[in-house]
Assembly symmetry: C2
């Protein structure tokens, strides 16, 4: 991993590990307390379940993209951290709910047992809800004292919309409900764009928005995020075809087993690989407007392909 | 139902039934589309599941409280509608998740089959997520063009906090995780305050905040909401002891069957009834600061008791 990615990621990991609201929830705790929790604290076992999924080792791609997007236009990228953390919380919530028995029924995530396997289904459902909630609480808390509340508000609205009912949840629904249906280019494009690309686009655009981007810059960020996000999911589909559990941190070959509508299932493996390459090129060229400052985002996009090369 | 309540409720019901995003989802639809949904629309069956739970007949207590709270200080209460709708969306999401087999495993809600009984567990989980999301999307969309974005932001933050990890979800977690545990006054107080009273307090305080309340007014709204909310849940516990399915729209006697920590289980039925009465008196006296304008909120609190008298 390159130095700039590592700098952002280390800051994100540090902030995730030291979230004041989840302090004292480091151990896996399955039981509720026998006395009322302190007001303003998050009760066990909820805090423990939230912390478990939020601090599993991961790439932190979405928070890194938010910080990098902000950093394109402003130096003090650390001030965007609440929004970066919110993106990782939303990602973690979506994985917890996605892994539930009623959805993908996964036992393994990021190399560890899934949330419901450790904490039970009831706590896992609530921990997902809680992480989604905490994402908004974290951003809104920052926005209340932000120097530019208008920018904060616009960034939160962008994130809410992309995570929401016309974004990630829409994609997630069709991903689940179209299992076993005949492969269809239009549908797989819809699923991947919303299930994955929307939550990769949101941090880039929100980061830019927080830093005061103009419309052309926001549109460039959107074009970058959509292309990168789609490439990222195609690569993920390809890895599921050929990858192993060690590399992926989750079981491979599951897409086919579940009858998921994947990119290679629709277009074939070779064409999927070629399309991922073209999408990365699109992502790279979308950043031209930012000049040399965007070198990091260009390398990040190019590195997406090396996962399957 | 009195005239003023009916006025607010009719406006809420009308707005819920005509939500543009859920237009075309009036029928129960279980299947995903065979073509990609239009961009910016909510796909089936998600929209259908969201609309099903959101438009089941209900008291609309939380949105009514938001509009009435706003109306204490400003005339144009219709402008607060996006926040009122958001409260009903949050309430509906919490009921869908609460009813799931892994949580309360309820078959009946508001006199109709629960969401997962109609749409299946996977869609129900996502529909809950989606309604929570739509609540924020709805409020943030309004806030972006609000005449006083500072007030909008403060109101959204208030709602997020009370619905969140130190509010409703905290109470919900202990409600579920303490099933079968010995009745305990401190714990039942914590559960009821957060599981129920927080989402009854949030609309009152948020409505006041949107209308420009000062701190003393917000604190009075909070005192009113907490007392009313607690009384409301105690009455609900009492109804579960004695009520029938026709009146409640859900199965009665379930709390005891599940070993829920209820107010009558801790304090006895007579004392619970007496405490509900005292809490209503507290709620009523908290509104003194608003003078005659708060007559509606006082009657609303008093009517809570007639459900079990």
């Amino acid at each position: 991993m390159e130095r700039e990615y590592e700098t952002y990621k280390a800051a994100v990991d540090e902030a995730l590990l030291t979230l004041p609201l989840l302090a004292g929830a480091e151990q896996v705790e399955l039981e509720a307390p026998t006395r009322a929790p302190a007001e303003g604290s998050v009760p066990l076992p909820l805090a423990s379940a939230m912390r478990y999924s939020l601090t599993l080792p991961g790439k932190r791609l979405r928070p890194v993209l938010l910080l990098a997007g902000y950093h394109l236009l402003a130096e003090d990228w650390q001030t965007a951290m609440p929004y970066a953390l919110a993106l990782e919380m939303i990602h973690a919530y979506s994985l917890i709910h996605d892994d539930l028995p009623a959805l993908d029924n996964d036992d393994l995530r990021r190399g560890k047992p899934t949330n419901h396997r450790v904490f039970g289904e009831n706590t896992a459902i609530l921990a997902g809800d809680a992480l989604y909630s905490l994402a908004f609480e974290t951003m809104l808390h920052d926005a209340l004292t932000a120097p530019r509340p208008d920018r904060a508000l616009a960034a939160i609205a962008e994130i809410a919309r992309r995570a929401g009912v016309r974004g990630m949840i829409a994609g997630q629904t069709l991903d689940v409900k179209l299992e076993g249906k005949p492969p269809n280019a239009e549908l797989v494009h819809y699923i991947h764009r919303h299930k994955t690309a929307d939550l990769i686009t949101a941090p880039v655009v929100a980061g830019l928005t927080l830093a005061g981007a103009n419309q052309a810059q926001r549109e460039a960020g959107e074009a970058y995020g959509q292309a990168l996000g789609l490439a990222f999911q195609i690569v993920d589909d390809l890895l599921d075809l050929s990858g192993d559990v060690q590399v992926m941190g989750k079981q491979a070959g599951m897409d086919a087993q579940r009858g998921k509508m994947t990119w290679p299932a629709v277009f074939g493996e070779a064409e999927a690989r070629a399309q991922a390459g073209r999408l990365v090129a699109q992502a790279v060229s979308a950043t031209a407007i930012f000049g040399e400052t965007a070198a990091f985002l260009r390398r990040l996009a190019e590195d997406t392909l090396t996962r399957v090369s």
